[in-house]
Symmetry: C2
Subunit: 480 residues, 2 copies
């Protein structure tokens, strides 16, 4: 019997968070590094998580009236240049195609870093009258940003995402759409990824290149750094004016449309990892886990009876829609398997030996808490389904408690510095509205304004930077 050491060579979280993260993505077999700097391969286990995320989010996007479409990967340079802020934001970090086949191209092409420009150019052909509005599109695609410093899932030169693009007759309708999609993200991330988030509005200096304003949901990783987990932009008429997207309104007057765009990406997988995992490896919420239940028969004595029962139970679970696997390999010890599936973050492990069968019971071990209990085989499927729901809820609650206990009321830059030395988290502060104060906070502490949360405090207080009386609450944090 081949019995590998139980040591999994994961760096501990406490000692080196960054190393711990890199160990997990590799040891849990989520990804590998690609040959071109900054690229990665999403391996089957990581991709299965993405597929589960996609399926759920795609349903929510369609339920809110959007249709999927597909736009070309390559965008002419002249398109990118039309919106000034947009080109300034993206030009330094795009990949350029300059040759097709054996011939140099007349005009350079950009590998899309995002698709506003090409989608706007099409919308200008498709939209003529108010009857064509609203136009609500979404695409699932790969995008590329030539990043200098990269990290698996969190920042890679190529990543997968969905990007929504809509056009509306009025400012109000576009605003409603941008807010609706942020709420779709919030619900998805909290309900499916079990990651609590702060929804709010980005400050001017942090908004999307070309947007009127940007909304975001901000999550807090277990090292106290923030992660932007989804953004929704109200583009106003910034793009419609340069791409000439006009419609005849009900009075036959030509008007420019108001637009939104919103995106969420494979970055969320990085967030998922840093929210829930520990020194034993990955921990996945049941709703996105490729394997929700692993059954490990303890093959002693009457092996075949145990094995058969294990497969029977798996079949029952499968029929009930549970993603389950039996690992009945004999060349690995149960102990090796326990470690392996802990590393991979499988929410429930079931152990089943000959003695358990005699007593009509099984062992259930929870990945999130580490708790182990003996449970009766009667009502097996129901028990498992309840546990999965419970785990999903408990993982969210635990992350929420962490976020709450790592949200600090901070009244000055000095306080913020001290807090950051002690323990990182969200720095809840008053802000006077002056962008210079945000710059100063960033320079002094490394923390940026994550967003202006929708849930504002009553009353007022002193600006964290200049001390002026302020009524706006901002969440600051060091961020990924």
């Amino acid at each position: 019997m081949e019995d590998k050491k139980f040591v999994k060579e994961i760096q501990s979280k406490e000692e080196d968070y960054s190393r711990w993260y890199l160990d997990i993505v590799k040891k849990a077999d989520l990804m590998d590094y690609g040959p071109v700097k900054g690229t990665m391969v999403i391996k089957p286990y990581g991709y299965a998580i993405w597929e589960n995320m996609q399926k759920d989010l795609d349903r929510r996007i369609k339920e809110t009236g959007h249709e999927n479409a597909y736009f070309p990967l390559l965008i002419p340079e002249s398109y990118l240049k039309k919106e000034m802020n947009h080109v300034e934001g993206f030009a330094p970090e795009v990949a350029w195609v300059t040759q097709g086949g054996n011939e140099p191209l007349e005009e350079r092409l950009v590998v899309r870093p995002t698709s506003e420009t090409i989608i706007c150019s099409m919308m200008s052909q498709w939209i003529q009258s108010y009857r064509d509005l609203p136009m609500k599109l979404n695409q699932w695609a790969n995008v590329m940003r030539w990043e200098k410093s990269t990290k698996p899932f969190l920042r890679t030169s190529e990543f997968l995402w969905q990007e929504g693009h809509t056009a509306h007759a009025t400012y109000e309708e576009a605003e409603e759409e941008a807010l609706q999609m942020l709420e779709v993200y919030r619900a998805f991330v909290e309900e499916v990824l079990a990651m609590p988030v702060i929804p709010g509005k980005k400050t001017e200096n942090e908004k999307f290149a070309g947007a009127e304003h940007t909304y975001s949901i901000e999550a807090l990783m277990s090292d106290g750094k923030a992660l932007q987990a989804g953004t929704s932009h109200h583009l106003g008429q910034n793009f419609s004016k340069v791409f000439d997207i006009q419609f005849a309104d009900q009075n036959n007057q030509m008007q420019y449309v108001y637009q939104t765009s919103w995106g969420s990406s494979t970055r969320m997988i990085g967030g998922l990892i840093m929210t829930h995992s520990d020194d034993r490896g990955l921990a996945l919420p049941p709703k996105v886990a490729p394997i929700q239940v692993i059954i490990i028969p303890i093959l002693r004595g009457d092996k075949e009876t145990v094995r058969t029962k294990a497969h029977e139970l798996a079949t029952e679970l499968k029929q009930a829609g549970v993603r389950v696997k039996v690992d009945d390999r004999e060349e690995m010890t149960p102990g090796w398997k326990f470690n392996e599936y802990e590393m991979r973050g499988v929410p429930i492990r079931i152990e089943l030996g000959p003695k358990d069968l005699e007593k009509e019971q099984f062992v259930l071990a929870r990945r999130d808490t580490g708790n182990k209990e003996f449970l009766p085989l009667a009502n097996f499927v129901e028990t498992i389904k309840e546990k999965l729901d419970q785990i999903q809820k408990d993982m969210f609650d635990k992350a929420k408690a962490f976020m709450d206990s790592h949200t600090f009321e901070i009244n000055s830059i000095e306080e913020m510095k001290e807090q950051l030395l002690k323990e990182k988290g969200f720095m809840k502060s008053w802000w006077c509205g002056d962008l210079k104060c945000l710059d100063e906070v960033k320079e002094e502490t490394g923390a940026t304004a994550r967003n202006i949360p929708f849930k504002q405090r009553e009353g007022n207080g002193k600006c964290v930077c200049c001390g002026k009386e302020s009524t706006t609450t901002v969440y600051f944090a060091r961020a990924y």
Copy 2:
């Protein structure tokens, strides 16, 4: 009431097949042209067809034991160059990335035209021992081939596809895999797209660049030209030797793996159109139709009763898993709507007026045959589900009858020329095995060897080109 002319400005199929095809893809709202030559936008209605195809094919790929993954878009030039035949086949038609951000790259990167090279480079790291085999991967991705002459769906510089890549311990196992995946394609294309195909082996001159041999399924379009609808390649050890993919076998001897790759793309949408559509527009088999049933209430007399009933029926169908839509807009006439949904290829149209309700009946019109009948509202859902199955079957049978009646036994190049002037189709001929004969047939007639069908004729006959006694049957055709 806005009543547009019923004229749909589709060129008739007889007069100009190519124009007819382009009219359909535009008027049925499947696509639009992108700004870069040879690219296209897949519009929501076209993309919904692709999603239905993907869902079904993805299930089949997973059921045969493959896992999805995602590999980077950009491939270093040096990788492409490793396999000589491969680079010769693809280098003339790739897009080159030469600059990232503001800096020129040290090594040029290829936008993947297919992913053998990058996947092989990863497999060489992942595969160590026989225990790692077989490795069976698939990815859904965009690929790019810098084509000189393009046509929507059939040949575009960027297209969407799935590409499977597997590694095996033995030649036999790889061969079995290549054949199995061709069979998966055959079943999918025939059962879901209702397109009959000829499965067979490609001749040497038509195989994939870098393969030992290639299998294909070949469909026949309604103009008598063939379309390759899926290919499966046995790569032998061609790639494993240059990418050094070795494994320790059970005797601890190092061996090179045997590999396969197989792909199917948005090209199939082009095939779907050319197999089933007519001068009234697109015709879709129920299994891929985004809307399977369109209900058009005839809003006369007691409008609200009719409208309510229409929505009730739609709800019943939805609950039974049927994709249904009610079009109860009053600004369009029923006649306009009839044309619109015929153009879009919706398999079943239901008309429902006040008189129908009195008689407890409805009108069912089939898109494929044009037949219209009155049917009782009793057993509504069951009736519709049976009709959908019947339509799916009838569309296949009709296409099969067309293919059979357009498969001609041809014994000489002269006969082939005559047949091609009369009516195009599959030219079933004997072939001696000499590649020069294939070249000559192509030069003289424009027809290429589509494949050597698995279903061979008994006995022997004279080679269509040189007249030598031959035992191999080949299907020739002009092809897309």
